[in-house]
Structures are given as structure tokens and as C-alpha cells.
């Protein structure tokens, strides 16, 4: 029997009208107050927004808050997509369509008991979640979210302000550097837990990250040769100018980058570091409450940053055919570009989630074989081919690039077809199982 009061509250929360009214009632006074006080602080805000130093910083803060909120929504989306994939409804109890589920999840994390087991390495145990979260959250500083903007109140001769926090000469190398630091969180969590299962999780994560950084680097080098620049804003501008996204030139390089991103985010099918069936919870077995939530947050933030990187480098960033380009610096165009960028990122996140719930986890030797025997040779051949194309000045020629990709793909297929080893792969010291007539 349910308590009648609880039942009434639940019924209320499930009504979308109630939710909308509550949100309006909460925000209306704030908006009203802000509007009333505008003459006193409006000039200050306008000055901040027009400043070439403060605007990127404020925009970055905005993006950071958005990412933290998006993480909560991602968890709901993930559970909904899991439900969709497994032919069930997913969370639908808390709020209308389960929309308050992230809030409930967050509260659950906060109120859980925060346990530090007796025999852990205390300093490293506390440090590990921070080391996992921080690299995941500083990576997006170089993402060019929406080009440049010129506010209507800015003087005509003032330069437009950029929506990119840091325009670095080393460009996406910065993202690689930061991403490569992310592994320490996982490794140290596994080590500090003083637990065999956690330890195995940490070891697996290390081997996996080291292996998958190589094909990722090769794919990015292909792109670097094509674009001739490391700056993401320049790469986006090139794609916007020609209207030809680099994914059309280098689909294989993009696939390599996508696969490596899966491995770097530690998500299925690459989640051997936390394989529940074998390792209980892997590297985060001993973690509870907010410390566990930080690992969770890091995974989703990694996913968002990785998606944003792929969108910027291979999918034209904020560019979409028929929409205003970089020359239009009005704030409407800026918002449109931001919407395009975010829309593409959301599509990528959906892809990440669908794949997570579709493809089963790899076995460890399969994982290593894909990286070292599949992706690495393919990446090297692709890189050599791109170098040859670049030497002949054909690196932006879509037909030459596609021919190269088709040739590499055909070569891989022929090699796999002719090799005597079964594709699924087994330990080399086990007798081979033949698949069909080989």
C-alpha cells in the first residue's frame, strides 16, 4: 500500500504542466529582478561581453556549466536508450517522462555513505577521482564552439570576440596531451584500492590507453597533413569555406579516431577496465558516493569532449550548408552556429550510447589485436598514402583521397580474407577454430 500523500506527490510530479509551472515560478522572480536592476549593472555586463579576454572566459564557464548539466541529462538519455535497445521503457517514474531522474540520481550519490576502506592507500585513493575528472573537464578549452561574435553595442572598430577560450598554436595536440593524463585517474584508482579486481582493472586500462593512443595519433596526423594546421578554428574555417567536411576526404581516418575515442572513454565495447562480470566493478569497485560519481562524470565529460573534437575536425564544426558562415558575426548567427555544433555533438553522443548498448565487450586479446594488428597498420598505410598525396599537392582533392581510402580498405579486406587466422581471434597457443571453409 502506498502512502496517499506520496502517491499524490508522485501524481503531481508526473504532470508536465506542474513541472513547467514550477520552473516558471522559480525563474520568473529572478528574471524580473535582473530586468529591474539592469540600469545599474547593464554597462558592466556589456563591457565584459565585449572584452576579448573576458568573453571567452565567460563563454568557457557557460560551456563548463552546460557540460556538467549535460552529464546529468546524458545519464537519463543513456538509460532511455538502453531501455529502447532492450525493448523496455527505461526510467519513467520520477517526474514527467522520467525527466527528474537525473536529480534523483544526483541526490542518491550525495546521500550515499562515503566509504574509505581500511587498507587502501589513502592519499592516492582520494587523489584518483580528481585526476580522472580534471583532465576530462579542461580539454574543451580549445574547441571553437561558434566562431566569432560582435555584439550590437560594440564600437564599429572593435575586433570581434571569440567563443573559443584558448587559441593555441599547438591546437589539438593540447587535447591529446590532456587526454593522455586521464589514464592516471583509472590506474591510480586501481592501484590505491589495494584490491585484486581493481588492480586488474587499472592494468587493463593502462594497456588499453597506451595501445589506442597510437591509432588516434595516426588518424590525427592524416588530418594534420590535409589541413596543414593544428588549430581547430582554422580547420573548421577551411571546412566551412570549401563546404567539404574532412570526413568525406578521410572516412577511414575518422573511423580510426572514432574507435580510439571509444577506447579512451572506457565505454563498452572497450570497458574491460570495469567489466562487471569478471572484475566486480573494476577500478572503481571500492569507490562509493560522490567519489564514484566523479568517475562517472569524467566518463561522460570525456565523451562530450571527444565528440566535440570529432565534430570540429571531421564534421565541419559549426558549419552547415546554407547557414551563415564565419563572416557573419551577428549574435543571431553565433547562436545558430552554436546550435549546429551542439546538435552535431548530441548526435555523436547518441551514437556513442547506441554502440555501447549494441556491441558486446571485447575480450582482452581481441582488444589488443584490433589495435596493434588492425588499426595500427591501417593507420600507417593511410598516413603514408596521405603523405604521398600531400607531396603531389592532392591532399584536398576529394577523389584522390577517396581513392586512397578505398585502396586501403580493399587491401585490409583482401588481407583479412586471405589470412588463415579466424577473424574473431583466439589466443595463439590454442588450437585454431576454422570458420567455414578456409
Amino acid at each position: 500500500m502506498m502512502d496517499p500523500t506520496v502517491a499524490r506527490i508522485e501524481r503531481l510530479l508526473r504532470n508536465p504542466l506542474v513541472l513547467v509551472t514550477a520552473a516558471a515560478a522559480l525563474t520568473a522572480p529572478v528574471v524580473l529582478l535582473a530586468w529591474l536592476l539592469w540600469p545599474w549593472y547593464g554597462g558592466f555586463v556589456q563591457g565584459l561581453l565585449a572584452d576579448a579576454f573576458w568573453f571567452p572566459l565567460l563563454f568557457m564557464l557557460f560551456v563548463l556549466v552546460m557540460i556538467l548539466n549535460a552529464t546529468a541529462l546524458c545519464i537519463l538519455a543513456e538509460r532511455k536508450i538502453a531501455g529502447f535497445t532492450q525493448d523496455r521503457r527505461g526510467p519513467n517514474r520520477v517526474g514527467f517522462w522520467g525527466l527528474l531522474q537525473p536529480l534523483a540520481d544526483g541526490l542518491k550519490f550525495l546521500f550515499k555513505e562515503d566509504i574509505i576502506p581500511a587498507n587502501v592507500d589513502r592519499a592516492l585513493f582520494l587523489l584518483a577521482p580528481c585526476l580522472a575528472l580534471v583532465p576530462a573537464l579542461i580539454g574543451f578549452a580549445i574547441i571553437p564552439w561558434a566562431g566569432e561574435v560582435r555584439w550590437p553595442w560594440m564600437p564599429a572598430d572593435a575586433p570581434a570576440v571569440s567563443t573559443q577560450a584558448a587559441s593555441l598554436d599547438v591546437g589539438f595536440l593540447y587535447l591529446l596531451a590532456v587526454g593522455s593524463l586521464g589514464v592516471y585517474g583509472v590506474v591510480l584508482a586501481g592501484y590505491a584500492s589495494n584490491n585484486k579486481y581493481s588492480f586488474y582493472g587499472g592494468i587493463r586500462a593502462t594497456a588499453q590507453m597506451i595501445s589506442y593512443e597510437l591509432p588516434m595519433g595516426l588518424a590525427l596526423l592524416c588530418l594534420l597533413m590535409t589541413a596543414g594546421s593544428l588549430r581547430p578554428e582554422e580547420i573548421v574555417a577551411q571546412q566551412a569555406d570549401s563546404g567539404l567536411w574532412y570526413v568525406f576526404l578521410h572516412p577511414l581516418a575518422f573511423l580510426l579516431l572514432l574507435t580510439s575515442s571509444f577506447a579512451e572513454t572506457n565505454r563498452a565495447p572497450f570497458d574491460l577496465a570495469e567489466a562487471e562480470q569478471e572484475l566486480v566493478g573494476g577500478f572503481h569497485t571500492e569507490y562509493s558516493s560522490m567519489k564514484f560519481a566523479m568517475f562517472f562524470l569524467a566518463e561522460y565529460a570525456h565523451m562530450i569532449t571527444g565528440s566535440a573534437l570529432m565534430v570540429a575536425l571531421f564534421f565541419g564544426g559549426w558549419h552547415f550548408w546554407g547557414l551563415p558562415g564565419a563572416a557573419d558575426t551577428s549574435w543571431v548567427a553565433m547562436l545558430l552556429r552554436l546550435a549546429v555544433f551542439v546538435g552535431k555533438v548530441v548526435l555523436f553522443i547518441g551514437l556513442f550510447m547506441m554502440i555501447r548498448w549494441t556491441i558486446p565487450r571485447f575480450r582482452f586479446d581481441q582488444l589488443m589485436r584490433i589495435a596493434w594488428l588492425g588499426m595500427l597498420p591501417a593507420g600507417v598505410v593511410l598516413l603514408a598514402g596521405t603523405a604521398v598525396l600531400t607531396a603531389f599537392g592532392l591532399e584536398r582533392n576529394v577523389w584522390a583521397c577517396l581513392a586512397l581510402n578505398v585502396a586501403v580498405l580493399a587491401g585490409m579486406l583482401v588481407y583479412v580474407g586471405r589470412s588463415r587466422r579466424p577473424v574473431t581471434g583466439r589466443q595463439p597457443d590454442l588450437p585454431a577454430v576454422s570458420v567455414g571453409a578456409v
Binding site: 592516492l124 593555441l168 598554436d169 599547438v170 595536440l173 593540447y174 591529446l176 596531451a177 590532456v178 587526454g179 593522455s180 593524463l181 589514464v183 592516471y184 590506474v187 591510480l188 586501481g190 592501484y191 588492480f199 587499472g202 592494468i203 593502462t206 594497456a207 590507453m209 597506451i210 593512443e213 593544428l230 589470412s419 587466422r421 595463439p428 597457443d429
Partner: protein
């Protein structure tokens, strides 16, 4: 200035010698005294420079972090912590490189050292760790000669820097860009790059040759032919 440098180096050498792990537990207690003295003097010097020129404050902070981390790398008794202090050291040095506008070098340092080499170190350390600390972890092999050699080298370098006047390394900002570094590597240093590549290739072939030697327990070790 020279006297200050010598005093600093002597203090540092003494402190490091005392702090190095070894059988001198009754002396190791006093290690923080000379180390803190050296660190304090150094901090005073760089902070005084930072006061006159605020840009130097970053240099002061990063340099002190790097030095403290470096001391901990060699004195900590647990190899995992040593490796982590090495990561901290790398990050601090990266900051110094960024201050010098050598951003490509900074990114490369983090990717190669912190991202690849030290992860491998941590990996190996974790795999090789014993239940009880190994003897090579609890005592330094040659603390005295090691300290002497290291600080003599520091003294020579420091004296050269002082006698040669303030070497102004502040070149044009374009020096550290990726394009500039790449052009230099492929034109001015082309031979060195080729030799380095050859060396790495040889090392890789050697590593594979060692790794391929299978234990004879399986009976036939000839599985390797693909």
C-alpha cells in the same frame, strides 16, 4: 651572487644526501632542515625578482614546484609515488616551457613523458611490486657520490651562467610554433632526425626480438610464424 649560489648548492646537497633513503634513519630526521633552508633562500631570491617583475611570479612558482617534486622523486621510498612526483615535475617543466613560448615542446613533453613513458613506468612498477619493499627501494645505492656528482654539475652550469652574464634566450615568439619547429627539424636537423629514427627502429627491433623469445614450457616455441 657566486657565494649565494655555492651556499645554496651546499645546503641542497647536504639536505638531499640526508633525505635519500638509506640506513641513516637517525640522520634522515634532520634532512628537512637544510632542504627547507635551501628552498627558503631560493624562494626568497626568485620571489624578490618576481616582486620587481610580476611576470616572473609564474616562473618562481613553477620552478619551486619542479624542484620540490624532483627531490621527492629521488627520496620517496615508494616507487609509485616517485613516478607520480615525476609526473608533477614534468607538468611544472611544461609550464616553464609555455612561459618560454615553446608550446609545441610543452605539448610534446606532456604527450611523450607524462602520457606514454610514465604510464608505462607506473604499469611496470605496479606489476613488479612486492609485498614488502625491495632493498633497492629502501636504500639508495651511492647517496654520497650521487649527490656530489649531481651538485658539482649544477655548480659548473650555474657558475657558467653567472659568469657569462644574463643570457637572453628571449627570441622572437615565432620560434616555438609548430611550423617553425617542423621546418627546423626537416632542414637544419635533418640528419639528426634520421639518425634518431634509425636508433629508435633498431631499439624497436631489439625489443621485439627479446619479447618473442618464448618460454620452452609449451613444447614448441615455433608458434610465432603468422
Amino acid at each position: 651572487m657566486e657565494n649565494l649560489l655555492i651556499a645554496l648548492l651546499v645546503l641542497g646537497a647536504l639536505g638531499l644526501f640526508l633525505a635519500l633513503p638509506g640506513g641513516r634513519a637517525h640522520l634522515a630526521r634532520f634532512a628537512p632542515v637544510p632542504l627547507a633552508g635551501a628552498g627558503g633562500v631560493l624562494a626568497a631570491v626568485v620571489l624578490r625578482a618576481a616582486l620587481s617583475e610580476p611576470q616572473r611570479a609564474w616562473f618562481a612558482g613553477l620552478a619551486l614546484v619542479a624542484l620540490a617534486a624532483a627531490v621527492r622523486v629521488v627520496t620517496h621510498r615508494r616507487p609509485v609515488y616517485s613516478a607520480l612526483y615525476f609526473v608533477l615535475l614534468i607538468l611544472a617543466v611544461t609550464g616553464l616551457l609555455v612561459l618560454l613560448e615553446a608550446k609545441f615542446l610543452a605539448a610534446a613533453l606532456v604527450i611523450v613523458y607524462a602520457g606514454a613513458i610514465l604510464v608505462t613506468y607506473v604499469f611496470v612498477i605496479m606489476l613488479a611490486q612486492q609485498a614488502t619493499a625491495a632493498s633497492y627501494d629502501v636504500r639508495a645505492r651511492e647517496p654520497f657520490w650521487g649527490c656530489l656528482a649531481g651538485f658539482l654539475l649544477l655548480a659548473i652550469v650555474g657558475m657558467q651562467l653567472l659568469s657569462g652574464g644574463a643570457a637572453t634566450a628571449a627570441g622572437p615568439a615565432a620560434v616555438g610554433t609548430v611550423a617553425e619547429v617542423g621546418t627546423r627539424l626537416l632542414t637544419h636537423y635533418a640528419v639528426a632526425v634520421q639518425v634518431g629514427g634509425l636508433l629508435l627502429l633498431a631499439a624497436m627491433v631489439g625489443a621485439i626480438a627479446i619479447a618473442r623469445r618464448k618460454p620452452a614450457a609449451d613444447g614448441d616455441g615455433g608458434e610465432s610464424a603468422a
